[in-house]
Amino acid sequence: MEKENLQKSDIIFHIRRFDPERDESPHWEQYTVKVESGMTILDGLHQIKQNQDSSLSWRFSCRMGVCGSCAMLVSGKPTLACNTQILDITDRALTLAPLPNFDIIRDLVPDLTRLFEDHVAIEPYIQRQDAEEMENPTGEFFQTPHELERYLQFSYCIKCGCCMTACPTMATDREYLGPMALAQAYRYNTDSRDGGHERRKRIVGAAHSAFNCHYAGECSNVCPKGVDPARAIQLMKRDLVLDYLKLKKRKKACRVMGIPSDVEPKPPIPFPPYTVEQK
């Protein structure tokens, strides 16, 4: 390994701190971190916490860009801290702030209650008429690769909240569902296994929903997984309008493909014992 790779630079971290027990409002604090090539912002934060200020708080978990915990505002743009190399974005200083449009609990930790409530509001699960099949499945859902491709991109969402931060409507409208929830509503509506379109369309066709998206496009710009919520929302508006004008026939939820008759199926897996005491 050449010497250049191990060379460390001094990068200044300006971090927006807020301690609810002591502060009235957030303030900036400054730390200097010795950064070598390959360090992510998450590594820098760990370094600060271990060596300089152990009171610094932030969320993290997987450290590899699949859990969505470490989303924060890095130099004005929302992104994942574990996915961003420090030397890629600066050679002198950067700023870290918690995600805007969510209340701050402490330091870099936003209160994501609204994000989860919006997600729950659009009923993010497969709904079908055949309840018996859902409880005791007998076969596979018959879904072609083409049908899968129509929603696969939007299923990569990790619910990090970056898109909710970047959206201008989210900045002022408390009731707006947000790009994440709307894109997930489309993901379930387009999933050919799902039959819950009638219920979801009443939620996303109401006020403070799909039609309050005006294609500013920032959600797709900042998404760390390439989910492109803006595309999902526009496609969903198209579906809503065609459905209102009765121009498109809604396909039923896809059928269940039974197993071949000359095959002996394995016995179903028994329901495991509860690990949490049930009331």
């Binding site: 918690p98 209340d103 701050i104 696969l152 970047a166 002022t172 496009g217 390439g226 198209r238 579906d239």
Partner: protein, 147 residues
């Protein structure tokens, strides 16, 4: 809410509509579209009453038209032309996008990610060029050909 401690309201508010200079161009088009729309709406309401003056006959109409030749009104008219040209052309772009034609189909994301913003960019460039063309045509007509 299980949290006992007070939290800090971190909403951006109306400033969040304007952004901090780091956003993509589409976001600024959205803001300008809104401003142009509100501006043209205010003009339009006044214009209804101006046009309705014709029911009072030429004794009222001709003096009002002469008043409209005043430079202040000409500047206002130019602003309306700019606002309307932008709002109309961008509006057509938004119709194509929001009805799902210009955003493209869902595709597997491969890093570096391309989004629907990339798909609609050629349309956006054409629209911006058309807007500039219309503004020049309208402004030229206003300045040099009377009204």
């Amino acid at each position: 809410m299980s949290n006992n401690e007070k939290m800090y309201d971190n909403r951006l508010g109306i400033i969040g509509w304007l952004g901090g200079g780091r956003w993509g161009i589409e976001r600024y088009l959205y803001i300008i579209h809104r401003l142009a729309g509100v501006g043209v709406l205010i003009f339009f309401v006044l214009h209804i009453f101006e046009g309705n003056l014709r029911i009072f006959g030429p004794e009222i109409w001709n003096p009002v038209m002469r008043l409209m030749e005043h430079p202040v009104f000409k500047v206002g008219e130019l602003l309306i032309i700019i606002g309307f040209a932008f709002h109309a052309i961008n509006g057509i772009r938004l119709i194509l996008i929001e009805l799902g034609w210009a955003v493209g189909k869902a595709e597997e994301p491969v890093y570096p990610y391309k989004s629907s913003l990339n798909t609609q960019r050629p349309l956006m460039v054409i629209m911006l060029l058309l807007t500039i063309l219309l503004i020049l045509a309208g402004g030229f007509d206003l300045m040099f050909l009377g009204h």
